[in-house]
Subunit: 223 residues, 4 copies
DNA sequence: AATGAATGAGTTTTCATTCAT
DNA sequence: AATGAATGAAAACTCATTCAT
């Protein structure tokens, strides 16, 4: 939400010295920072007001002139696509980190829960997904996410915690659908978790099924 | 050289205008019919172009003047709410009809499947749901639907085809989420049905579970 | 904020607006009038400031809201094309009127002179012609003008006042080129006429040639 | 006058002025070259897209940063004026060269033909001329051209190939007008030449007149 | 000198809504 | 009741110009 940091080099490593020791501020390398500022502002604004919020508002939130926003992203749609891509690649990165960690099914269900919970707060992703033009252009990022999920899913299946016939496509479908639903004000955290628990049960193999659902606050995502 | 273009049903003879309250030609029946025309047009237009399609387009599709649309629905939001209400009450009516018919779980799963399939074609409902303003105003209609579902759900549970701890809220949540997801072009009918089958399994009681999912085209909604 | 102002009724008398007898004012048939107002304003504005003058300025000059202008002409280009077409059809009408009147060569040379003189005042046509997009779309109107000229030219040739091998295409080329040139502030009326006289001599048959050019103010357009 | 500089003239491709490396010191020679690059780019861009093409595009075509363009020409108008001046002085130079060469009338008509043909390809000059602001500022260059033409015209008249009462002003008017007309896509080379032939006949003295026009491709510019 | 990111006023265009007929 | 022209605020996008590096 706040100024993320430029990727290359990292902030702590002043290896290659630039003409001035450290105070790169406005221009050049700062275009990088401004791009990030814009994306952060866009995330906040679209989350708050929905994808039809004005680009002007994004610029204001980023404390930049409108021209700057359009210089970085030549159309509003381009900005939204970039935002989508970033969000999806964050998810992909998270999934990839999980793949190597502890119990796979716990990881999988936990991941799904977190995504849905986040969507409940920032309606960005979902709001944007509704805009057909945006989804289509971002299909490649979605595929990357699916690839990441496939590994986690396979490991969960090998551990016997997820039914054999489940596919990554279906997991994404579940995530997407729920993220959409999570927007609605009428859904409280409790309802989200109870419903997710149902779905998790549907994903478990015949024997591993919970006969009763958890209390509020715990979606029963332990394997 | 000019633009005036007569609408098809137009009553010609524009000279009859007297701004006072005299010659009422058409009775309320006509207004009634126009209201329906507008709603039908709105459903089609919003389904095609999303909820931000212009009211002008709705008027054009209804073959009515824009003023007429705003006379029936004083704001665009009011029109969308009325549309939502109509759609929800259709669903409610459908559920109520099902309640008395044959096997309740078959009915329930079939109903859910149909809703999702419809959403895949007309993105209306879901598109509108994304607009917070609209959902909130329509809560009462949603409650009616939930009431209807509750009966069907209860009967399915009594028949042993649905787990005891499932609630109507959750069913609605599942429907809503899936309807949103169903918008995405990447989801084909097959994926929708496979994913629904997972969810149905999650809804079944511990013993009634399918150990393997159905072939394409059949979502396994038999109890 | 500014209500459109009734132009034709003259100033003052802000009292009661009578809906009938005298002058239809605002709506319906007045769309017609507004279309004309817009075109008149556009002619004036583009003539004064060139074709890149803003549509806002046209609206202001027409004393109409900007939305009204765009309702009549959905893009700026469409407005400019309509303007072009109108101007060309005026010329065409003028040529057709001439065809039946007195001495044809006098008519022809007089017509050419008038067009060039007008262009010197309203640079509209020519300014717009420079905008490629506009010219191409208006080719049909140009053809009509050429057809009109063809008759006049043929009669001039039969009367022996214009050389046999001249074609309407060439006359249009001459008119267009001169109209462009007439824009330039450095060309005064005298220069325009002297140069036109040269051209007219080029159009005359071998024997009918003027051995010396006319004094300023008279382009020598008598046959 | 300038100090011979080690690096820039060096071995290799002379045309590449891409602002590449750092260490090399660029002297005035480089600025000189950049000025020329900008003007060349401007000619190309304005020819293609008209005088309202953006300065950014000029910079891109010149492969220079936008700041560099504005350093050389402090406003867009200044750039267009400089361009105009360059083009006019090219013409002036050409006329001066012709003055001393062979048959003057052949030279004159040939020159006029060439200018018009060029204008048909690059609409620069004419497009810019339409912009009043530019023409006025460039009057001095135009005067130089007129002076050049005056000599050529006088010699043509002495040779008896051009009528005595023709003036340089009129020749320029003819050239300008035709150059404008030459823009129009509908004018093909044949039409241009046929129309020029008419005008040349108008310029000839009473006896020297062509009784019939030339075939396509030859504007009849022999005396 | 060159660079190119940032600026922000200006332009085109859209659209919900009003209102006179 | 219906009509549809007019409104005008707001949105998306452009571009000449400035300025810190």
């Amino acid at each position: 939400m706040t100024l993320p940091n430029p990727s290359p080099g990292g902030p702590g490593v002043p290896g290659t010295a630039r003409p001035s020791s450290q105070g790169a501020r406005r221009p050049r390398a700062d275009a990088q920072r401004n791009r990030a500022r814009i994306l952060a502002a866009a995330e906040a604004v679209f989350a708050e007001k929905g994808p039809s919020a004005s680009t002007d508002e994004v610029a204001a939130r980023a404390e930049l002139a409108i021209g700057t926003v359009f210089k970085h992203f030549p159309t509003k749609q381009a900005l939204q696509q970039a935002l989508m891509r970033d969000l999806l690649s964050d998810l992909t990165r998270e999934v990839q980190a999980l793949t190597t960690d502890g119990d796979p099914a716990t990881s999988l269900f936990g991941f799904m829960t977190r995504v849905v919970e986040q969507a409940a707060q920032k309606k960005t992703v979902v709001g944007l997904l509704a805009d057909t033009g945006v989804v289509l252009q971002v299909a490649d990022s979605l595929l990357l996410l699916r690839d990441g999920l496939e590994g986690l899913l396979a490991r969960s299946q090998q551990a016997g915690a997820v039914r054999e016939d489940a596919r990554a496509d279906e997991v994404i479908a579940l995530i997407t659908g729920f993220s959409q639903g999570a927007l609605h004000a009428r859904w409280d955290r409790d309802l989200r978790h109870r419903t997710l628990a149902l779905v998790f049960d549907g994903l478990r193999p015949p024997g591993a099924r919970r006969s009763s659902r958890p209390a509020a606050g715990s979606p029963g995502c332990a394997p």
